[in-house]
């Protein structure tokens, strides 16, 4: 329904635009102009709230048109992740008038335009991952009634969104959401997310003073078992520094890996359990079992991961600096041939 109404509106707008420029002074254009009139630098939450307040003051009847237009500017004004804005937008709807009273009104969509518009606002909230609260529920109840179609949408959101909000066990979104994190802080979060060895320690090295315009830093994540793996490498063996990219929510973070070719043959992840009791090759099996037990999680089937890191800029010279820094704790790195493969395309 809302789909049809918007497309119709779009058609209407086009037709009107194309026909002539003389009929500019309709209310619809007026609302749009109100949002357009603000210069891009001043488009913020206050300006948006002021537009809503102005509409409320005039007590206009064109709630749906106003909200539809306002929704289009939500992102431009940078308020698309702000719960207050959505509360204020939904508060535009008059209270009491649209609550269904008769059975007929309850069964059929009472005030369909308004309800669909409210659902559209809630959908926009959901799309941007904004969690609703009790207040927004009460605003909807006061406008549309307890069990109306649009109110049910809030109830569903209140039920499901908190359930799935913290389902990601790898990243605590509270550390990222609504915070302005510096690149090094983001890199730290990314490294913590990627380092699956619980023993790994993440370190940050800052080597810029206050006079530097850009902060220079190197981050490293390495565990004791990775240090042991490096120390066991023979002289002249090759290891690689490669680039990758990971998302910490909506922030892409570049990282680097120190990897090498695996030392031992890939193990089979699945063991077929044989029921027959055959002890003829028990010694080989026992030896194999011991080797497999020693294998760390860093020795994957096609590569061994020696360290993870992140840098303030991604090029070969900075990567060499990162390796130099790593060499302080891994003296065996001096004996190895290190191939840095950063200049060029990122993996992702």
């Amino acid at each position: 329904m809302s789909l049809i109404s918007t497309s119709r509106w779009a058609m209407f707008y086009q037709i009107r635009c194309f026909a002539s420029a003389s009929h500019e002074q309709t209310s619809l254009v007026h609302v749009e102009k109100q949002f357009e009139a603000v210069i891009p630098e001043k488009r913020d939450k206050d300006a948006f709230m002021a537009a809503i307040a102005m509409f409320k003051e005039k007590r206009g009847r064109t709630h749906v048109e106003f909200i539809n237009t306002a929704l289009k500017y939500v992102k431009e004004y940078g308020v698309h992740k702000d719960l207050d804005t959505y509360k204020n937008l939904l508060d535009v709807f008059p209270k009491g008038k649209m609550i269904p009273q008769t059975a007929f009104q309850k069964i059929f969509l009472h005030y369909p335009q308004q309800q669909n518009c409210a659902v559209k606002v809630l959908d926009e909230m959901e799309w941007h991952g904004v969690q609703p609260d009790k207040e927004i529920h009460d605003i909807m109840v006061n406008a549309f009634g307890e069990w109306n179609f649009a109110t049910k949408k809030v109830k569903r959101m209140l039920y499901w969104m908190p359930k799935l909000k913290h389902s990601n066990k790898y990243l605590d979104r509270r550390h990222v959401e609504g915070k302005s994190l510096s690149p090094s802080e983001l890199a730290g979060i990314a490294l913590k997310m990627m380092s699956r060895d619980p023993a790994s320690s993440i370190s940050l090295l800052k080597f810029s003073d206050s006079s530097d315009p850009v902060s220079k830093w190197l981050a490293t994540s390495q565990s004791p078992s990775q240090q042991r793996l490096i120390s066991e490498l023979q002289k002249g063996e090759e290891i690689f520094v490669d680039a990758g990219r990971v998302y910490v929510q909506d922030h892409p973070v570049a990282y680097i890996t120190l990897t090498g070719t695996p030392k031992s043959a890939p193990t089979d992840e699945f063991k077929k359990e044989e029921m027959d009791e055959d002890y003829t090759s028990w010694f080989q099996e026992w030896k194999k079992g011991r080797v497999e037990a020693k294998r760390s999680m860093h020795e994957q089937s096609h590569e061994t991961v020696y360290a993870l890191g992140a840098m303030y800029q991604n090029d070969n010279s900075t990567a060499l600096r990162w390796v130099d820094n790593l060499q302080k704790t891994n003296s065996n790195l001096a004996n190895l041939r290190i191939r840095v493969r950063l200049d060029g395309k990122l993996i992702i």
Binding site: L3, T6, S7, A10, M11, Y13, Q14, C17, F18, A19, A21, K106, I107, F108, W127, H128, G129, W147, N148, F149, K152, R156, Y159, W160, K163, L164, S167, N168, K169, Y170, L171, A190, M193, M194, S195, R196, G244, R245, V246, Y247, V248, Q249, D250, P252, V253, Y255, T257, T259, E269, F270, E273, M297, Q300, S301, H302, E303, V305, L308, I347, I348
Partner: protein
């Protein structure tokens, strides 16, 4: 493909295209308006995006139902237009592929004649703790071809791109780019999704159901992602129209980086969705009806993505006794639910 899409000339509020199109005719406003109207007519004659939806017997619903079946794909605007000649040309290939499938099925049926029914034994509890079974690998081209990809640009509804390719160590790489930019055609409201879906069927397009997974408690995936959150969907469409959108979903969070992650997702945690929307009435996934599996990305984040998949299978954990993870709503007796 999209960049030469004629319909964007229809949209008046695209300053770049309109100015470059009409800059040399900006002499008089009347001729400009006429010119624009001509353009609209031409564009609307050519384009298919805003064409009228086909009207079914019972009203003009664009949603395909049993009595209002726009086309075999059940997709609005889908027009396979092929000629009889092409059909004849395609016939030997179809006969070959379907014949091979049928031969394989018959061979398997005759080879496995036995009194012992493994699934029956599993039903009475012969699936042991920690038992896993890998069902789908990606090491050969045939296995990779069972999976189809789709994204919004395939339907001319957006600008996302995706591909599914082999990696050099026997896994599949589902990669591409997500763009949440909405195509300005007045119809599309949201954009930015990419998905891969299993199309593993028996001969003559008969469905293969996941009923042999019913005694396992978890879905098992070995993946290597990029930190984004994907979604797993167990599709269970049946013959009646109200089940065509049925699927059971659960997010698949990835940690990114060089380490593989072994993701075990209990079947009890999949929630019921229809066309991606969570439903009020929740029930556990019924693997007897489930015929396809999909991995979808729609996390509203612009940018490249990459998910490497080694295998997909099932895993049994006997300590997992939960039947269904979500309590269901208790609706008031008099409610508008049915309407």
């Amino acid at each position: 493909m999209i960049s030469t899409f004629p319909l964007r000339f229809l949209v008046s509020r695209v300053p770049v295209t309109s100015s470059c199109l009409f800059s040399n005719e900006a002499t008089s406003s009347n001729s400009l308006a006429d010119k624009k109207n001509d353009e609209i007519q031409k564009a609307s004659g050519k384009s298919k995006v805003l064409e009228k939806a086909k009207v079914g017997i019972f009203g003009s619903s664009t949603v395909p139902i049993n009595t209002n079946f726009p086309n075999p794909k059940g997709v609005v605007g889908y027009d396979p237009d092929f000629s009889a000649k092409e059909l004849l040309a395609e016939l030997p290939k179809t006969r070959r592929t379907q014949g091979a499938l049928l031969a394989g099925e018959l061979k398997e049926a005759f080879q496995n004649i036995s009194i012992e029914k493994p699934e029956l034994l599993e039903d009475i509890g012969f699936v042991r703790h920690n038992e896993a079974r890998v069902e789908y690998r990606f090491d050969t081209q045939e296995r990779l071809d069972l999976w189809k990809t789709g994204c919004d640009s395939d339907w001319k509804e957006g600008f996302s791109k995706c591909t599914l390719t082999n990696s050099d160590h026997g896994s599949a790489i589902f990669s591409g780019n997500i763009s949440t930019r909405v195509l300005k055609d007045g119809r599309v409201e949201r954009a930015g999704w990419a998905s891969m879906k299993l199309e593993d069927r028996k001969s003559f397009n008969r469905k293969k159901f996941f009923s042999k997974w019913r005694n396992f408690s978890h879905l098992l995936l070995k993946v290597r992602g990029d930190g984004r959150s994907y979604k797993l969907m167990l599709h269970s469409p049946l013959s009646m129209d109200f089940t065509w959108g049925d699927s059971f979903s659960h997010p698949l969070h990835t940690h990114g980086g060089p380490y593989w992650q072994y993701e075990r997702i209990p079947f009890s945690k999949f929630f019921h969705t229809v066309a991606g929307r969570i439903q009020d009435r929740q029930y556990r996934v019924n693997l007897e009806d489930t015929s396809s599996l999909g991995i979808v990305l729609m996390d509203r984040i612009d940018g490249d993505f990459r998910l490497e998949i080694d295998y997909i299978g099932v895993y049994n954990d006997t300590t997992h006794v939960e039947d269904f993870a979500y309590e269901t709503y208790t609706l008031p007796v008099f409610n508008t639910h049915g309407f």
